[in-house]
Symmetry: D2
């Protein structure tokens, strides 16, 4: 039986630079957007430290979440027109689309690395715990909130609904590729989304693509590949990420060693102590982090203050390729740093990005190995890489980019007669 | 004599969604961008509270400042090609373009209203005071920093340089119209910037426009008009601005009355006390403000905590037209609010936007009354509104939009038998 | 009773640069597009001689017709969602939208001037006469073709249907402004079409616009104004139009005087003789015209061959403003041309464009004086110019542009001691 | 010694939808554009029969030629800024860019197939023969015209100049990818042209690309791949091409057999006879072809009239994959067609497109096997496919698409008891 959801008297819209307008016709969607947990996404950047590389990338997860909702809404409309859709699933799918990222915190990737937090778990907690969002979902009847959580957790029985929100070509990725391309201004990231929608079919409980749309899918795969290497894995962004991670790491170490902060990071203490309740987690946003990073420029600990100064003023680490040769000299290099008084625990960091074009994820995304299936004219399914020469030739290919980050300025500022300076420059080839 | 400025070995570029690429060829420009004062602009939104109306408008003054620099650079190139430009002025103009907004603080408009700060004065102080920027400018020779400051202060003798940076059609406005349109996603704000550049001529020490480009100028004027009323003066944005102003106002009052804050706003105290040094001013950014607004949701003062909760979670005031009829009932309305226990000093605010299409400024901009001159084929100058039917017909026209803002939810939550509720609803017609 | 129209098994699409995709779901629409009368629109440029001014404007009426259909389809979808639409009118409206321009011939404006043809009458004949289109429409039942013709002829009783296709803000104009802007590449012509759709309401059997959408309507009016003066009335386009008209005129005169053409314009003879049957009219397209214009460069009549050479190779007439002063000297000028051996009947032509911003039509469109009505919050209707300051100030304003066209090269090539050369140059100020 | 070329008093511009503006500053360029040979390019579509598949693709070679000129101009400006350019070559390069396609006739591909014409030879003849273009070039001094011809013929000694105009990433391809994408409206075809320009270097007399720009080059290669298969090799376009070729073929056969045409194709007769002089060639354009195709719908020869009717009204052939299985049945199929009275010489045609992503050419382009070289940080050159995983994996890959075209409607119209109908349907699987 289809539950009946309340419609708004008048459709509401958000002006959106990517989809022109986001259309909201259901009271529940409108109310979810108005919750404090959802509004908080305005204070969390979509692309973390990327704004230090591409200054346009200052957009937040708020707009992206609306975008994923809007794409899902439009795809469902097309599915309905083709009688591929069970309308009783509509509101579950729309809520899951809107809320799929609601558990993200500030700079999630670094936080998860240092504090072991898990934004996916927080998403579940926000949907199922003591929140405005949960109360709204719960008003829709028993089990509704759980169903939404299941879709996001990929355990929902209707696989079609799940794959709309998370699969190789889901609403999430379609929105972020287009949106991130728009805000950074790069020319990659464009693909013919409407054509992909039009060739989507449903078979064996999964989304498949008509063979005639193969080129649009190929183009999407290649756009994704370019966005990953040109934007998401950009070495300058990763340099900022390295510094950010080191700041969090240093602050935690200092806290654990009873350092007397001039500016005590009250909102972060639970994280330092290893456990953070939802209530406190929801108070975290990028303003909090930036507030402390700025204040900590005045802390007495020179590592903390220097790293914060670097992050706030974009005085990032430089990098060299971490070649096999360099791997062999890593210990020697570490020693030379230590001798020179540049703590290698904070100032010498290897960062590695690795992926294959057909199966790419941004930092922090968990893998999804479901292949893309093409629907052949005879009704059978063929896996994309079998049909597409281009995708076929790159399937299984793996590309890794491994870089060593360090503060070149500190090295160059060492006295010229310093033995360690000479050694460092020799090893790094600078 | 033309001073010689150091070139970069290799041109640097920033990817920019509006101008494709920002090109930097001079060491000085590159170094200025790297100063902490300039990097701070990344933490100040270009359009203040507008992101609460148009979620795309999360872009900062950093990108805008680069954009103004880039436009200036390109226009100078064209002027050079036409031998209209004295090359010894180039670096002064480029620095002024880059730095014209560097004195902006967070939510400048509200801050200036509550604390009487003046971002223009801070711009001057940053260029002339004890800053990284000043040191860099000063290295270019005696008086260089002063000249840059003079251009921004509009007292520089070369009027052509001044009018590139601030006039009716200056690099500042050209960039912000295009940029704000891009990030909000609205379809207004577009005009043919390249054509305007091409018809720019220099006469009597001012920039004039060839008659053949009149339509492009008309289109620019109309774009500006639409952007003002559709974006900059949007009533929802102003509602957020009203609340923000009231928060600052309340915090100041509380501080002056020795309120014991749970979260003492250390970085703001000098403002509350009426004087803030440059050094402290430079530590202010939107993260600081958002940090305290978030924290203050937990303060005991219900006005402060309620207003902060409204701002953070976008529970804004509603508005009605402030009609002459309503003006007559203002006192009665104020009384009813007070009776109902809703403090009218914080919860009842008139906000007025007013401007004429030919002479428009965003909140906080000071006026610039220099008219636009067209260069006729016979070499004489005619003022735009004489030649353009469209502009002529709207010149002198003044449009004012005056609205009364109040928390509708609070009013509707009053008990139904409340006398004041009835009166408020009657007066406001809700 | 709603007639039932056959759906296509699978939706068909056309890739369209303006609307992304044109969607066809009805067999009738698909079949109409496939008729020879509709395919013929591929051979008739949307903007006549404009391609000689804006080289991108080579697009045909075929794409525009699909665009008008698509806009109508989308607006009807929105109307249906709001229950503003009687579904039994859908196919009539879609057919009328698709076919509204089907009677256009090559360079209609000039043809109508010289031969007195009327593209609107031909549209009616194509819909009602012995054509593939008529047969298809007729299969839909008695009176269906007539209804479609009535909508285009504006005599159809349902005014809502009529105003979708022809009114101040109809699907026709929305498409051509966007399309012509796209293909010429000008930055005017953009407006927020989706917002206009969203504020459309139906009242008293006409389309009205919610007050909240007034700015989008204003912006549309101003875009239209810019497109008219910057593109449609461009003096270079009009120069080409003047020459084209003179070629047709000359050919007709020659034919009537039994001139022996090397290349007899068989397909045009009926036009010269004053009567052309539908069957012959449908064979006319721009290839036919261009074929003869090219061939006629070799005719013995020097006026015909020179004019054709000018048109084919873009050696257009120059122009001066037709000032009152010049009006006074027109006879003298004509005399001087005649003396100089430059036939003023073909080489001296006044062309005038005139319109008001609120009520603009491209050459060849008949007027439509229905004003734009805004729907106020209280349910009353106010005419746009009463509410909009900008539109109000330009309403009633009339702008006229009158120019005198002549072959400057011929004048300058006259011997320097020629009396008439001196006189011509003096009068024209060249 | 640098020859000095005359500058225009005032820069002229063309509004261009792809490059915004085309800038002309040299009198020679301006005059070349004004020649009848160059203006003729307005009457030759850039993409031949593609407009029957993508209705937006009605743009001519005129705009493309301006675009190639403009890209060349801008790249030279960048090269000059980097002191990579010998200014005495500028005008030669600009003229070659502008004129590189001037020898194209209508539907060149089909014409070359049927009549053995060669548009490259005509380009040489136009530059070196008795034309307006030659006269203008010749005025620039002895040997100038020859040099321009040599650049286009790729025999010019300065390889840098040659590779600007014709190489894997030349101005020609950059323009056509962007332009064809713009006019068709497809989302492929975009790449970051400005970034490619910025990483261009000159080494060993050839253009190479800095390693840091490898991704932009990759993206260009992939865009090109998508454009080929999605646009240039589109099977519907090829169907139209097949018909067009058959029409020309049939007309030639009829002429050679003394068929009495109702509409004698005078301008084509020299082609039928195997030899066409430049003078006559220059009179050919698409209007001429379309004129006769339209007229020939009335010819008595049913093959000619049917094929013309198909082409004019887009009643194209259908197609099936030409599988090995089908190859085996080809003779049988041919026999069945013949039995059924459908002449297989005109109604059964195999068309094959084949290419590799790294080395793609549109129909009619001759191959260019020069690989793309990357400039490594150490100054050595590496071939692109060695460095780029994506390009590497597709290099050498060859994709072939072979289809059999036939008139499905004719087959289905055969009487149901026809033996040959049954056989044809069986073989073709329809």
């Amino acid at each position: 039986m289809t539950r009946s959801f309340q419609k708004l008297n008048e459709e509401k819209v958000f002006k959106d630079p990517v989809h022109r307008y986001i259309h909201v016709r259901d009271r529940l969607i409108w109310d979810l957007i108005g919750t404090s947990e959802f509004q908080r996404l305005r204070r969390i950047r979509q692309l973390g430290t990327t704004f230090l590389t591409f200054h346009g990338a200052e957009h937040s997860r708020f707009g992206h979440s609306l975008g994923v909702y809007e794409i899902t809404r439009r795809v469902i409309d097309i599915f309905k027109y083709r009688s591929l859709w069970d309308d009783s699933e509509t509101m579950i799918a729309l809520c899951a689309a809107l809320l799929h990222d609601v558990g993200h915190g500030p700079f999630s990737h670094s936080f998860e690395k240092v504090f072991g937090t898990d934004h996916e778990k927080y998403t579940q907690k926000i949907i199922l715990g003591d929140t405005e969002i949960h109360r709204l979902l719960n008003e829709q009847g028993d089990g509704f909130a759980e169903k939404v959580a299941d879709v996001i957790g990929k355990t929902y029985p209707n696989r079609l609904v799940v794959s709309l929100i998370s699969s190789q070509i889901d609403a999430d990725r379609m929105d972020y590729l287009l949106r991130d391309a728009y805000f950074t201004g790069v020319s990659y990231g464009h693909f013919d989304m409407e054509r992909i929608w039009r060739v989507m079919r449903s078979q064996d409980d999964q989304i498949v693509y008509k063979l005639s749309g193969m080129h649009a899918v190929e183009d999407y795969i290649m756009s994704r590949y370019q966005m990953y290497w040109q934007v998401y894995f950009h070495p300058v962004t990763r340099s900022a990420e390295v510094i950010l991670t080191q700041i969090l790491h240093r602050a935690k170490v200092l806290y654990q060693n009873d350092f007397r902060f001039k500016h005590t990071p009250t909102p972060l203490i639970k994280l330092f102590e290893g456990e953070m309740e939802l209530r406190d987690y929801l108070k975290l946003d990028e303003s909090v982090i930036m507030y402390f990073f700025q204040a900590w420029q005045e802390e007495k600990d020179t590592i903390l203050s220097d790293l914060c100064c670097r992050f706030m003023n974009r005085r990032l680490f430089k990098y060299v390729e971490f070649t096999p040769e360099l791997i062999g000299s890593k210990d020697e290099l570490t020693g030379a740093f230590r001798e020179a008084g540049i703590d290698p625990d904070y100032y010498l960091e290897v960062d590695s990005s690795s992926n294959s074009p057909y199966d790419l994820y941004r930092p922090g995304e968990e893998g999804e190995r479901q292949p893309i299936q093409l629907l052949m004219p005879d009704g059978t399914l063929h896996e994309l890489s079998q049909e597409s020469d281009v995708v076929g030739s790159i399937t299984g290919m793996r590309r890794t980019d491994c870089k060593l980050y360090y503060p070149k300025d500190r090295v160059l500022d060492l006295p010229d007669d310093s033995q360690s300076k000479r050694k460092i420059r020799e090893i790094l080839g600078i």
